[in-house]
Symmetry: C2
Amino acid sequence: MTEMRPPLDGIRVVDLTRVLAGPFCTMLLGDMGAEVIKVEGHEGDPVRRQGTLKDGLSWYFAAFNRNKKSVVIDLKTDAGKELLARLIETADVLVDNYRPGVLAKMGFGAERLAELNPQLVTCNVNGYGSTGPYVDRPAFDFVVQAMSGFMSVTGAEDQPPMRTGLPITDLVAGLYAAFGVVNALHARRHNGRGQHVDSAMANGILSLMAYLASEHFATGQLPPRTGNDHPLVAPYGLFTASDGEVAVAPSNDTVLRRFLRAIELEHLLDDPRFSTNEARFPRRAELRALIDARMRTESQAHWIEVLNRAGVPSGKVQDLAEVFADPQVRAQEMVIDVARAGAAPVRMLGFPVKLSQTPCTVRLPAPELGEHDDEILGPLRRA
Amino acid sequence: MTEMRPPLDGIRVVDLTRVLAGPFCTMLLGDMGAEVIKVEGHEGDPVRRQGTLKDGLSWYFAAFNRNKKSVVIDLKTDAGKELLARLIETADVLVDNYRPGVLAKMGFGAERLAELNPQLVTCNVNGYGSTGPYVDRPAFDFVVQAMSGFMSVTGAEDQPPMRTGLPITDLVAGLYAAFGVVNALHARRHNGRGQHVDSAMANGILSLMAYLASEHFATGQLPPRTGNDHPLVAPYGLFTASDGEVAVAPSNDTVLRRFLRAIELEHLLDDPRFSTNEARFPRRAELRALIDARMRTESQAHWIEVLNRAGVPSGKVQDLAEVFADPQVRAQEMVIDVARAGAAPVRMLGFPVKLSQTPCTVRLPAPELGEHDDEILGPLRRA
């Protein structure tokens, strides 16, 4: 039997992206086995100089550019453009995160690309999409969080809308772009033709509005901001153990009964003041005080163990040091160390999707600028 | 030339998922052209009864179950399990979001599934992954937001960690699961064999920690919570126009100069108190007051227009009503209406990834419970 090969083995990706959303997309493709060729100018991706450098290497750059090769091409020159054209002829995928239309202005419009390589899947990761009134606007994660409604549903009830510190709109756009590219590659089995994939930060984050969007469409009402509490269900949220808070999410009556039984307060459900969610919700402060009084008698670890065993979702609010020390995170290999000649290994996040037969691996550490010029560009120059 | 067909045309997905993360995964596969067969018990997916019902239909259910067929199989009976086995023989993909190991206990372990159908791609969307100490824990979005570090980097500086109101960990896990499945389908071209895909809510959200994780690994320090401000750069964040706030993200010196020029405060960069980020950051309140004084002279719309034209990312903090009225969101067709016989059309979110030749469409509205029993199960019963 033929041996299993990584999903994107044999797929060559030409990667014109910079900074974050685009490089995250091509990293996901590289992790799945694609040969990703990162094309940089003489100055290199700015992220090479961002964040903390250790032994001359940005760990931020290292994390987002594993499983990639680097070549230097000056796309401001005709010779550079000609070289890119030759490279595109050898590729399956071309990804850029310029603003829509910029690549065409550089001489690589859709028509030219299809001429160069009719099988090519092209992908643009952008801010607001490639049509519409905002097509030329520059985008940045914080602004997209503001415009998309994400901030409007995040934060405390009596406080203003709140962003998250994660560059969530970049990363979701990069993930959707990678999903689109693999779909377009798979579609080639029908007739061998490539097509264009458009992934916008604004569209990606908006697609995650989920039932908040459905409820708004159905009722016309706006979802309230409710901090860490559930807008409709009580008890729910953070409760107080002897040594800190415990997050508990009893999302329905079955799980609520398990919760109250586990903390020996099941009798509350016989009390008309607490027997239905309708009765409980206006008395949620009172209910919380009763639960906290009981939970303060034991530690976080105790309750998290007891509640999960009883089938009640529960855990601690962890900071990143606690997260990366968490035995589950370690068991899932979500922290990996990538060896580096003559320097300490580079620590980075592991692989979020686990494939049983072709698991993702780090085949290549993040490349030095132009490290693969000879290997990749040499044959094209000689041709 | 053969015509283009949707990427997953001809792919049959048997869908055992409920509620959110799993159904989002299979919706993404259905949107890309797969035939998704939702297997429900006699009671149906609980989401059929959740959220606001209009003319008897939950719009939340409708939004997450477009492009699916529904069959009723009672998996508690031997006859039901036998029927599922027959259905699996006809499928390319099997997705479930039971806790790891539950499907095996139901009689569908990896070995049996491979016997039934060696080409089958299987996928489990779960909370914490299928190995490690938390494998049997029940998971829920709020708890995973707490444990993953997401909350620790969200919220105001002087306030506790904050969740987002979006079920972000469910949806990211569903998206990664769909990405994994399409990769595993594409990998079959090498030798025709399926494999297992594991997508955990905890791993998915953790993978989005991005440079926050890199910086923590490189320095051992914890990222601060900084509300809507940038942890290192000033000016940045929300500024005050005559009729409300404007989000502005001048992420580097070039964009900052454009910003200050556009609001006619470029001279500040010649003032030693504001000429470098190092000087500006401790004086950010003072700087904000100067900027607000200028921006209060004009409206939000004015500044958003002026700033974007100048190449400065800028926009309003919008609530969902404003988002869905936004001309860009409309131009991107991110709000769609799905016709419904004898009732008002169902409004839902559009498609986040745009493919040029095979755009996603709603081929099927969300199914009635068991609507496709005859079509799908009939041939299996007669065989």
